[in-house]
Structure formats: C-alpha cells, structure tokens
C-alpha cells in the first residue's frame, strides 16, 4: 500500500508540474519555475508564523503571493534596472530563498520545517501522515488529497484557458492586439506554478519539482509537433518517471526523489537520441544548432 501512495503522490506532482512546464519552456521561462520553487519559502514560513499551523490553505496563499512577487521582481529588475533576465532571476530567487532560510533558523523552535526537507523532500514519509476522520476511518495520506485538489485545479485552468494560454504563449503581441490580456495570463500562470510548487515541495522537495517542471515538458517537446500531444506526452513521461523512479529507488535502496529525477533525465536523453522528428540517431530532417 505504501508503494501505491508514494507512486500516486509522485504522479500527481508530475501531472501538474509537467502540464505547466510545457508552457514555461515554450515561453523560455523554465528557470522561472526554478526560481519560484525556491522563492516561495519565505511565504510558507511567514504563513506558518502568522497562522501557527501547517494547514495547506494559508501556506498555498502565502506561497502564491510570494511566487507572483518573485515574477514581478524578476520583470522589474530586468525592465527597469536593465539587468539581464538570467541575472535578474538569479538575484531574486536566491535572495528570497535565503530570507526563508534565515526565518526558519531564527524561529527554529516554532517552525516545524526542516531545511533539508524543503530542498530534497521526503516522499517516503508521505504514507505516514494519514488523514483520519473522527470515526477513525483512514482516508489515505493528507498530501495526496491536497495534491489531488491542486492537480484538478491546474487541469481545469488549462482546459478553460486553453486557447488564451496557447495564443499568449505563441504570439503575445497579436494576443494583445486582438484584446486578450497577456499580463492576466502571465500572472495567472505564475500563480499556478507557485501553488503547484508549494503543494508539491513538502513531499517531493524543490529539486524534484524543478525536474518535473522542465524535463518531461522538454522530453515531450522533442517527441511531437502538436501542442495538445505535447501536454499529454509530458504527463505520461512524468508519471512513468514516478513509477520507474520508485522501483529504481527500491532496487538500489536509495533516495526516491533522486531516483525519480534521474529517470526524468534518462527519458530526456532517450527522446534526444531516438525522437522520430528531432532525435539525433533517427532524424528525418537535418539537425541544426539553434541560431539566435
């Protein structure tokens, strides 16, 4: 039963991260996902200090706000201080993450958060924190319920906003010209990334979140030329990595999150080598280095 809950948790995280990751990589913002997943830390700690509980809702709100603040700061430094985009990302998220770490260490006695847990997570502990009703009925791990709700919300967001997200990702200038607000969709996407990150990181850790945000989407990008197929393939790649990663970890008796992240990397390598349209071993068209 534990294996089931761990794989289910991994798969839920994989699903929402991969879906959002498709948009991030096509917007050339993969590293913004990385930034958000770290920068939400102070939001979580502050939410915890204010409410004194580890309830999911205040944490999601705190992290959501910090995530949007992060993207806003990145834009701001890039546009007004005219720092390069990557430098702006690097400064913003390390700074916010560091504030989070300081807050944790200063309030160490009061905050039931562990720095290692933030970075690496501990997916193996998921089945220990069960949601047990007053009648004593066990409904399974809490994390799975939180993640299931978040995953549903993300899927709903993408289904309802499909054409707007597609257009603002492909051609923001045209979208703005015909009256579709690019900033509404940009900031709502960033909020979705923030919420996903927070809901996920407690169980799988920030590093696996980043792996899930980028690798399955990049793998799917290599395998198809159709955007809807890319969304589906990225989810499949993410779920497959969760399953394979779990058994790999059992086999080598190592970290589950580490094994899952490793499998996402292996998937990417396989797609890179064997993709029917872009793979370097089976190529239909000449592979050319990207020119900018």
């Amino acid at each position: 039963m534990n294996a089931f809950w761990i794989i289910l948790t991994g798969s839920l995280v994989a699903t929402c991260c991969s879906l959002l990751g498709c948009y991030l990589i096509l917007r050339r913002m993969a590293m913004v996902g990385d930034a958000i997943s770290h920068a939400v830390l102070p939001g979580i700690v502050i939410a915890f200090l204010l409410t004194g509980s580890r309830d999911s809702v205040p944490m999601l709100i705190g992290a959501g706000l910090l995530g949007v603040l992060t993207t806003f700061l990145i834009e701001f430094f890039h546009r007004y201080a005219r720092v390069q985009a990557d430098a702006s990302i690097g400064v913003t998220f390390t700074w916010l993450f560091a504030i989070g770490i300081i807050l944790i260490s200063v309030y160490a006695g009061q905050v039931d958060l562990d720095q290692d847990c933030v970075l690496y997570g501990e997916i193996a502990y998921v089945p220990l924190d069960l949601w047990i009703t007053e009648e004593g009925l066990s409904l399974g791990p809490r994390t799975v319920w939180t993640l299931a709700v978040v995953t549903l919300l993300i899927i709903l967001y993408i289904v309802l906003g499909y054409k707007e997200l597609f257009l603002t990702t492909f051609d923001p200038a045209y979208a703005a010209a015909i009256g579709i607000s690019t900033s509404v969709w940009y900031y709502s996407l960033m909020t979705a990334v923030s919420i996903t990150t927070v809901a996920s990181f407690e169980s799988v850790g920030a590093i696996l979140v980043v792996a899930f945000l980028v690798a399955p989407a990049a793998t799917a990008y290599l395998l198809t030329d159709n955007f809807k197929t890319m969304l589906l393939l990225s989810v499949l790649a993410g779920i497959l990595a969760s399953v394979a990663g779990y058994y790999l970890a059992v086999w080598i008796d190592g970290s589950i999150a580490g094994a899952i992240a490793t499998v996402t990397g292996i998937e990417f390598m396989l797609a890179f080598l064997f993709s029917p349209s872009r793979g370097i071993l089976i190529r239909k068209k000449q592979l050319q280095p990207v020119q900018h």
Binding site: K163, F170, A173, A176, I178, G179, F227, T229
Partner: protein, 262 residues
C-alpha cells in the same frame, strides 16, 4: 505636407512614444482615410513599427491619444487585426498551420469558448485565399519565409476585421508571395477595409499604396501617394543618404512622377 481627412478611420493626435525615456516618436498628428491602402515609410529606426504598435495601444504613449473609428481603442479591439513581423514568434512552436490560423477566431470567441465549426470553416477559407489550403496540417517549422507570412496573413483574414495593421509583410518573401499579398490587400481595400502597412521598399511604394505616411521620428508627410512621394519630401525623410536618394530620383523619373518641389 500633412493632409488631414474628414471622418478618419484612424486619428492620431500629438502622439509621443519613448523607450527608456528616449523618445522614438515625436508629436505625431495624422488622420487616415477609410478604405485605403496606407504605407508607412521611412529609414531604419524611424519608428515605423513603433507607430503602428502605439496606434494599437501595444506600447504606452508618453503623450497624445489615438482613436480608431472615432472610439477609444479598447472599444474597437474586435474590429482590429494585426500581422506582426514574422521574426517576432518562434516558428519551432509545436503548432500546425491550421492551429495558427484558427487563432484569428480567439478574440471574438471570448473566454472559455472553443472554436466552432463556423470558425474552422472561416480559417480554411482564409487559408484558401492565401493559397495555403494544402498546408493546413503542416507543422509551422516546415514553412518557408513566404509561407510563414501567408499564414500570418490568413490568421488576420480569418478574423474578418475592419482595419489591419501589418508590420513589414513584404520583408524577405519571394516574388510570388509578394504579388499574392498585394492582390489580397487590393481586394480587401475594395471591400472597404483599411490596411496600414509598414514598408521599407521605396521602389514598390508608389505602385502599392494610395496613401503614404513618411516618418523619421517626426512625421514628415501624410497624404495621397502621388503627392507625398516627391524628391523633396523623401530627402527630408531619408536625410543625407545620397545613394538612396539618387536611386529614388531615378525611380521617380522612370515612373513619370515629376520630381517637383512642393
């Protein structure tokens, strides 16, 4: 020479646009007549693209205002279409030609609604008009420059707007595409649409446009093509670029446009 018109489709009043507090357009004041093919012409860096982007309110204006169909732009978005520069998007994006053209229906559909059969038919029809119906399922990364431009044009056509802003639609396209596009633009004009085109080839300007806006950070001229494309005004627009000017002079003579002082 700036000619103002009665009942303009586009009215630009005292428009100034800056990047990083450095002005790129100064005090532009112009009106454009309905149902015309308008060319926006000027040297590199003259602010041609900036002007049409500011007209559509895609860039913040430092001062001044723009009215389209005598209304603020926010009220007439669904009557406006835009053909951005081809290089402005990633053509490796996982989308088919049809996906891109269907985007033309997104503005009118509004939130949460999916494209209906009628929108799909309109997209196919638009593809037919640009001669790309056979490419509907083609991945966009497999298109040539001219084909990419036709796809962008088809997307705008599918929108069935009343006013079209086009940024360099003739840049880097083959002759066949250029001819096809200008034919389409003329048909659109006959249907009473207004088309505003950023263009940098003086040679074809006289032939293509019936209204010309000469721009070099400031507005040099705006009026009927035959009155605006004179040596004197072109000199003012292009400054001291003599080689260009000599060529222009020759061209004007060849096309029997008297190079007169106005």
């Amino acid at each position: 020479m700036i000619i103002q018109v009665e009942n303009p489709v586009v009215e630009v009043h005292d428009l100034t646009v800056s990047y990083d507090r450095k002005p790129v357009l100064w005090g532009i004041d112009l009106t454009l007549p309905a149902g015309s093919l308008v060319g926006v012409i000027g040297p590199n860096g003259a602010g041609k693209s900036t002007l049409i982007k500011a007209m559509m309110d895609l860039l913040p204006a430092g001062s001044g205002y723009v009215r389209i169909f005598d209304k603020p732009i926010a009220e007439v978005r669904n009557r406006i279409s835009y053909v951005p520069q081809r290089e402005s998007v990633d053509w490796d994006f996982p989308a088919s030609v049809f996906d891109v053209v269907l985007m033309g229906s997104y503005g009118k559909l509004g939130l949460f609604k999916r494209p209906r059969q009628a929108d799909k038919d309109a997209a196919m029809e638009a593809l037919q008009k640009v001669g790309m119906q056979g490419f509907a399922n083609r991945q966009i990364s497999q298109l040539s420059g001219g084909q990419q431009q036709r796809v962008f044009l088809a997307r705008a056509l599918a929108q069935n707007a009343d006013i079209y802003f086009m940024d360099e639609p003739f840049a880097g396209v083959d002759i066949a595409t250029e001819t096809a596009i200008i034919e389409l633009l003329r048909t659109m004009r006959e249907q009473g649409k207004t088309v505003i085109v950023v263009h940098h080839d003086l040679q074809s300007a006289t032939e293509y446009f019936d209204w010309v806006v000469l721009l070099n950070m400031r507005l040099v001229a705006s009026g009927p093509a035959e009155q605006v494309l004179t040596q004197h005004l072109l000199e003012q627009t292009y400054g001291g670029k003599l080689t260009v000017l000599t060529k222009v002079g020759e061209l004007l003579r060849k096309q029997e446009f008297p190079a007169r002082e106005s």
